[in-house]
Assembly symmetry: C2
Homo-oligomer: 206 residues x 2
DNA sequence: ACCTGAACACCGTTCAAGT
DNA sequence: ACCTGAACACCGTTCAAGT
């Protein structure tokens, strides 16, 4: 007779998977540690062995999100062309897709604002993502397709535009049928913003 | 002898004020209807006469935030110069200031994503804010300082950049000492993005 | 090492009853 | 109309005890 073993097997992973499902299907307000434990067939106190608090579980979930997003972006850049315009378009497309397809998770990833001692790992993951766009811009500067100057002065507005676009899409400010065009418009907008001064735009370079 | 009257006087207003204070001082996670009631010197059931649920109180708070922000922006535009560059800079400055000074409230304003039946008033308030930037852009087009075309195709990227900038500032991605320069950079970035095609930028017009 | 059972101090919401 | 008191069905977290 197949009886439940005393040990779950991999409760930590199971809890994370269940949490992500709940997040996706019923939003962050519906996420309860006790309910997760029930769904995993385990006592209310069991999760505390793997996550010292509910916030710790949320942090772990957010970290997973950053890792997945970073991997998807890296893969997309791998496949993309060499011009700054091509690479920016690829980045924007994948980022927006991720944010829309994982709206609640994407929210969580940037919601460590009120965490008393925000998880260091989470901040590090975010920094890794930031490093990707910095590399993108430096390469663009090397090709003469992006205006010169400290990377941050371009990276910040660029990141703001992309993240803001994702926020608009997720909150429904953009009708879902027009998300792709909004993305194209934003990429064109950002390209003009990044263009070398006093000359042609990056998009019009050979 | 001064004894507490049976009626509070203006419980609704008192609850909203207490809620905003808690939000500001201890973040959204610390917001409890019961605690608010305690602080107002009233029974746990009393708030339900004024807000049919906790979410309804949050919606009312968000609505208040939109009203205040809209008023501040309108006042700033009133005082500002006539060029698109001037008006955009004024808008950006005030918006960013508001977001940073009211971080938790600003968050709340855009957090109706998972509200089952998102408050219509809240959506309307947001639309009013959107109308302000649309007017800004149309005026800029009228002066030949913004590229032609459907307003949305400029308004969306512009809004994305400003909202994204606010998000970066609030989450601490921008060191608080460099927020003002980041704002200036973003305004310059947006100006280039909005500029009439094939010509000088809006910033360089007389 | 991993989990249970029971307890503690909280929640939001509802509803009869009071003023 | 506005509020109280008491109840209901939940929470997150802790801690001795079990396997």
């Amino acid at each position: 007779m197949k009886t439940r073993p005393y040990h779950h097997g991999d409760l930590r992973t199971a809890l994370l998977a269940l949490a992500e499902q709940t997040l996706r299907e019923r939003g962050p307000g519906a996420l309860s540690l006790r309910e997760l434990a029930r769904e995993a067939g385990v006592s209310p106190a069991a999760p505390s062995r793997h996550f010292k608090s509910k916030q710790a579980l949320l942090d772990a979930l957010g970290l997973e999100g950053f890792d997945r997003l970073t991997a998807e972006l890296a893969a997309a850049l791998e496949r993309s062309g060499d011009t700054f315009a091509d690479r920016l378009a690829a980045l924007a497309r994948v980022y927006l897709e991720f944010a829309v397809a994982n709206a609640a998770l994407h929210d969580l990833m940037y919601a460590y604002k009120y965490d008393p001692d925000a998880s260091d790992e989470l901040i590090a993951a975010r920094r890794r993502l930031g490093a990707m766009t910095a590399e993108l811009i430096e390469a663009g500067q090397g090709r003469g397709e992006v205006c010169e100057g400290p990377v941050d002065r371009v990276a910040l507005p660029l990141t703001a535009a992309l993240q803001g676009l994702a926020a608009l899409a997720v909150t429904g400010a953009i009708p879902s049928g027009r998300i792709e065009r909004a993305a194209d418009d934003t990429v064109a907008f950002v390209l003009r913003g990044c263009a070398p001064t006093g000359g042609t735009t990056a998009a019009s370079l050979p």
